[in-house]
Amino acid sequence: MAQVVFEPWNDPKAKPLIQFKGVTKRFGEFTAIDNQTFDIYEREFFALLGPSGCGKTTMMRMLAGFEKPTEGKILLAGQDLAPIPPNKRSVNMMFQSYALFPHLSVWENIAFGLKRDGKPKDVIAARVDEMLKLTRLQQFAKRKPHQISGGQRQRVALARSLAKAPKLLLLDEPLGALDAKLRQATQFELMDIQEKTGTTFVIVTHDQEEAMTVASRVAVMDNGRIIQADTPARIYEMPNSVYVADFIGEVTIIPGTARKSGEGYEIAYAEGMTPLYAETETTFDNGETCHIALRPEKVAISAERPEDRRNAVQGKIIDIAYLGNLSTYHVALPNGQMIKAQTANTRRLSRRGFTWEDTVWLSWTDTAAVLLKG
């Protein structure tokens, strides 16, 4: 099936739905958002990822209108949002705490926003029923929020924020309270809804797997700044900094100094050890400090030295983390550097080759590692 790649951020003609222009938000002395400029496009599923307190909720609250930027401007479809109060924005927010109205039934909660628009009764009823069907809540329509489960409540909150068909939907840790199974089901449900309604989503999450699953682009934040905003694959495979590489997934970071060698660079990481080799598009000066970022699943583990690989190091297994389908081996090199290697557990436990204290060879290809500045 031929599919058009959805990458409006690479299309210079595409008009962004949201534009942050030099937005800074201070609370007193404290800078929560630090001079941010970026765009979010229509139909995107934009995920904000970052450690606690990095400013994700603040970003959302500025979009919803509950906080005003201290400096800079936020545009929605080219229109400055600053003078528009929250109740006049075509933006809806699904609150982290759901914020369902406890005195209203599920049906009335979903109808709340529609009624404020003064729509005719039958239009409201039809829309609410549609939302109930979408979130599979039909049989709970008459219940009050305290009479349904946490997952159902979350879906009510979602339905309520979707009901007005906003241009932009903000989801602040929408799946935080759900168990793994339900969370996954809801993630797919969210993507499905997004596909059907064409709404633009901005989602905040602590869970990087969630961000990777649902998002068209992931923005990794730290201390009020977006460090990198890119597709999940590029964030994972081509992080632009040690911070992003370290934040997303498991990684081994090896500091060293680079020296040009053929197509790539030789990286000296410890005295008396053969330098490692990596190919990269970034250019380094000779002797510049750099970091090798190495994903554990790209590191092979073997008893004998593999002949065909330039990057091969010997070490001792210190720890094995058994993850069911995978095992992560923590291997210490003679200089003390730890490297993580991951293998799929295709065989049963008793037949597996390596155990604690074994001396093994680790190897990876020339393009497996990412070479980072700084």
Partner: protein, 296 residues
């Protein structure tokens, strides 16, 4: 066994402090007035044995209740008490709600102080506080002096010994009973609900009516009953501030007991008052019950 103890204790409490006194009052209301100590007959005399008890019961009758119907002072007092209680409850709500709202929205570090200020009047005697209102409201009182001084009025207002003074006294006295339950309902409210309402298209005022008011409903109902129920039987405020114009059943009750020394009629008045009060008390309990269920 534990279950039994748990149920038994409150019932024993109820029996000792409510039912027994009530039965005593009921018995007096069925007796006849007498110049004796206590001022009614019959009294139960166990020394006469079975005969005495039979004589005792045969002497009881409903004469006093019948008497309440012959003089329209009584039913007028009941009706007037209910009217005054209803209106002053409404006034207390109108004054109390904004105060509770202000308290609930005040910065956190202010709240204990504000709470203190609401409770503070309880630390002085109720009687003294009502007396001081006499000093404020009388024709030569502080209020008139100030108003005359700043030229708002040219003749002193006559407030004391009018229903207005009674309403002022009641609203002042019972305000904390209105404020506290409403405050506790408002304080429990999650602030993000209002943000959610705004997000969905409500103006602030609309959000107040659609979210804040319904969510403080149980506090409003509790506060109203806490004011309404005792105000019906209120006697100090109407006698000190209301003069002879204000008709309230509490005052009638007092006069029957202490001026006429007619304990049986006074008791009959009290029994009827209690029967009237049972309705709002039951409704109040219902509200509390519903509230508790909603919180589970």
């Amino acid at each position: 066994m534990r279950r039994f103890a748990l149920i038994f204790l409150p019932y024993a409490w109820l029996l000792a402090l409510f039912l027994v006194p009530f039965l005593i009052v009921l018995k007096i209301s069925l007796s006849d007035i007498a110049t004796a100590i206590p001022p009614y007959t019959p009294t139960l005399d166990f020394s006469q044995g079975w005969q005495g008890i039979r004589a005792f019961f045969s002497a009881l009758d409903f004469e006093n209740f019948a008497f309440l119907r012959t003089d329209d002072l009584y039913w007028k007092s009941y009706v007037s008490s209910l009217q005054i209680a209803a209106l002053s409850t409404l006034l207390t709500l109108l004054v109390g709600y904004p105060i509770a709202y202000g308290m609930a929205n005040a910065p956190d570090h202010w709240r204990p102080t504000l709470m203190m200020l609401v409770i503070l009047p309880f630390w002085t005697s109720f009687l003294i506080r009502v007396y001081s209102w006499m000093g404020i409201l009388s024709t030569e009182g502080y209020l008139n002096q100030v108003l005359l001084k700043i030229g708002v009025i040219s003749e002193p207002l006559i407030i004391l010994n009018t229903p207005t003074a009674v309403y002022i006294g009641i609203v002042y006295t019972y305000l904390p009973f209105m404020i506290l339950p409403i405050y506790s309902a408002l304080e429990r409210m999650d602030g993000s609900l209002l943000e959610a309402a705004e997000d969905l298209g409500c103006s602030r005022i609309k959000a107040f009516w659609l979210i804040t008011v319904p969510l403080s409903k149980s506090g409003i109902i509790a506060g109203c009953f806490l004011v309404f129920i005792p105000v019906i039987g209120e006697f100090v405020i109407p006698s000190l501030l209301g003069g002879s114009q204000t008709l309230m059943i509490g005052k009638v009750l007092w006069e029957e007991f202490f001026n006429n020394r007619d304990w049986p009629v006074a008791s009959a008045v009290a029994v009827v008052l209690l029967l009237i009060l049972i309705i709002p008390i039951v409704l109040f309990q219902r509200n509390e019950q519903k509230q508790r269920e909603a919180e589970e």
